[in-house]
């Protein structure tokens, strides 16, 4: 039980057969500045992995690298066992239809209403679905994401921040993905809304069994729904493990993060 999460991050991943995402030796550079240097990470099947790190440690860049929006300077990234580097379009498409991404601001298509937004990935991958079925699927996804039914015909500009995130989640879930990327899903939500969103993420994951890669700053989210947490610092994943394991380790930043005033508050309320 008492494995050292600091060591975990360095050695344990050698051959994690069950990894949905496996990142090896990832290096990302912007000009001369390296955001990541030889970063390794494994995300196991069916887990909710929280990714934390100070601002500017490259959490979003890591996610963008994994989903192929950012070409790394070097390293290997595998999703469902397929390499994401130098892959051809057909392979990429096969992988793409198995994941859903929720961007920070929702990234809804502003000229389409929520219903049409949710249908975009469905239409892209299943052009033979008839309109009635598309409407039905989109509608139950919207309700599943916790939006009222009448929100379906609203445009993104008419939605509040929290509703945009829910609509974004509905779109990310449109294809029943095996892998879900969430970029700070609870940032900017009120505590009640954030807790509801956490609960939603957890219950959807329970139902559908997908793997979740979750970037967050929200300690409550980490405590309440994450199976494991990866800590990004010094251009690497410096530690990965359950929260208890992380709290037990003595890296100064991790200590500060989980045992600072906010960390203590959050852990108290989740014991």
């Amino acid at each position: 039980m008492a494995t050292d999460p600091l060591r975990n991050a360095e050695t344990d991943h050698q051959n994690d057969k069950d990894a949905v995402i496996s990142v090896r030796g990832l290096t990302n550079r912007f000009g001369d500045f390296a955001v990541h240097q030889d970063l390794d990470l494994d995300v196991r099947r069916g887990e909710i992995l929280g990714v934390v790190g100070g601002s500017g440690t490259g959490k979003s860049v890591l996610m963008r690298s994994i989903i192929g929006l950012q070409m790394p300077a070097s390293g290997d990234i595998r999703v469902f066992g397929e390499s994401m580097i130098d892959r051809d379009e057909d392979e990429a498409e096969a992988v793409r239809r198995r994941w859903g991404v929720l961007f920070q601001g929702g990234a809804l298509f502003s000229t389409l209403n929520v219903l049409e937004n949710v249908q975009v990935p469905l239409k892209q991958f299943y052009p033979d679905f008839d309109k009635r079925l598309l409407d039905e699927i989109a509608r139950y996804k919207i309700t599943m994401s916790g939006l009222p039914a009448e929100a379906a015909y609203k445009y993104p500009s008419e939605l509040s921040g929290g509703m945009k995130k829910r609509a974004g989640l509905a779109r990310a879930l449109a294809m029943d993905p095996d892998l879900l990327f969430l970029d700070e899903p609870t940032a900017g939500l009120d505590p009640i809304g954030a807790a509801a969103f956490d609960e939603l993420t957890k219950s959807l994951q329970d139902t559908m069994g997908h793997t979740v890669f979750l970037i967050t700053h929200d300690l409550d989210t980490l405590h309440s729904i994450c199976d494991r947490v990866a800590v990004l610092a010094d251009k690497k994943v410096i530690a990965i493990g359950t929260i208890d394991e992380l709290i037990a380790c003595d890296h100064p930043w991790i200590h500060e993060y989980f045992s600072g005033p906010r960390g203590r508050m959050a852990s108290k309320s989740h014991i």
Binding site: S110, T111, Y126, Y140, T143, M175, D176, D178
Partner: protein, 382 residues
């Protein structure tokens, strides 16, 4: 067989057994037996077939291997519409069905489309009221701008010098290349076309009159205005529109910085001041282009050309150009900034407003140019 959520299929992929179903008529009524993988891939065609099924009493999920929410939805929908009950559902399938069932809400369709004539009339009315609103909005905008202008004049410390100088550079200096090239080529075209036509009357020498008078009086400034509208008017609309979308303009207001003073006035003043300079520059470049043609093709030495220009172009032509230029500049900046400030909602709006800014600016410039032409002729500046 245990039912595994689709997510756990893993490397074996989703290409399992295709979803299918059979119906059985038994003692207890009709049974729908489902088998295979009821997942999103390969379920699209079943959807319509399933709609046709009725009079079912039981849906048997015993042979279903995998299921995701789309499969669950189809089963749920069929069960609800036929009143059949579901049996042999595994724990996971039952859970999926329950989740989907909870998410099934009566749809609230948007109001249906109305009669074509009425909606046509409605659109016409909307367009008219939009046009009137746009015009009055433009006037109000201009009014606010004039007020901001005087407010800044009274309190010169509020002049946004940096922004103003930046705009001089962006609107004026950086436009020199393209406007110069365009005018130079237009000068050549006028000279070439003019000489061909005038030669038929043996009046080739009047090509110089054509070049001199046309460039200073009309084309130099007009072409410059069109170029500035395309280059800077569109940029104003897009910049301000994007700033509105990202709430930068709201942020300015809350800090107490007036967007009219900080953003719009510098653009307006810079365009008004740059237009005459650019217009004059364009006219000179057109003269040089024409002169080059006259020199090379018609063998008129440059010194004679300059001499002729001085004789045939009255100073009033120069005045006309220089009077029109700042007015055109004001219109271009006004249309650009006004449309930019009207942006609301989404990114598409920015594009629409940018187009509107350029179209409006060029249209108004040409209408005004025609009015100026009539006006200047009637006061005897021929």
């Amino acid at each position: 067989m245990p039912l595994v959520p689709a997510a756990q299929l893993g490397q074996t992929g989703r290409m399992g057994e295709a979803a299918s179903y059979t119906t059985l008529d038994g003692d207890n009524g009709r049974t729908l037996r489902l088998s295979g993988d009821w997942v999103i891939a390969g379920i699209g065609l079943l959807s319509n077939d399933l709609r046709g099924e009725d009079g079912l009493t039981t849906i048997d999920l015993g042979d279903v291997r995998h299921m995701d929410t789309v499969g669950a939805w189809l089963i749920h929908r069929t069960a609800i519409s036929t009143g059949a009950h579901i049996q042999n559902a595994s724990a996971n399938a039952a859970r999926l069905l329950e989740e989907v069932g909870e998410a099934d809400r009566p749809d609230r369709e948007p109001p249906p489309h109305r009669n074509a004539i009425i909606s046509g009339l409605e659109e016409l009315g909307d367009a008219v009221s939009l046009a009137i609103g746009s015009l009055s909005g433009l006037l109000a905008f201009f009014g606010r701008l004039v007020r901001a202008f005087f407010a800044v004049l009274i309190n010169p410390r509020r002049i946004a010098w940096r922004e103003l100088v930046t705009r001089f550079e962006v609107i004026g200096v950086r436009a020199l290349g393209i406007i110069g090239l365009m005018s130079f080529l237009i000068g050549i075209v006028i000279a070439q076309q003019g000489s061909v036509q005038l030669r038929q009357f043996g009046a080739e020498i009047f090509t110089v009159n054509l070049i001199g008078r046309l460039t200073f009086r009309e084309l130099g400034v007009l072409m410059t205005a069109i170029m500035v509208a395309g280059r800077s008017g569109s940029a104003f609309a897009a910049q301000l529109g994007t700033m509105k979308l990202t709430e930068e303009i709201d942020a300015m207001r809350t800090i107490g910085v007036s967007p009219a003073e900080a953003l719009i006035l510098p653009r307006m003043v810079a365009t008004v001041l740059m237009m005459p300079l650019l217009g004059f520059y364009a006219s000179i470049l057109a003269l040089i282009g024409g002169g080059l043609f006259v020199w090379t093709v018609m063998d008129m030495p440059p010194i004679t050309y300059v001499q002729r220009i001085r004789e045939v172009v009255p100073i009033t032509d120069f005045y006309i150009g220089m009077i029109k230029a700042p007015v055109f500049g004001a219109i271009i900046a006004l249309a650009g900034c006004y449309q930019g400030m009207q942006v609301e909602g989404n990114a598409e709006e920015v594009g629409k407003r940018t187009t509107a800014a350029v179209v409006q600016a060029i249209f108004m410039v040409i209408v005004l140019d025609a009015m100026f032409a009539v006006f200047f002729s009637s006061i005897g500046w021929n």
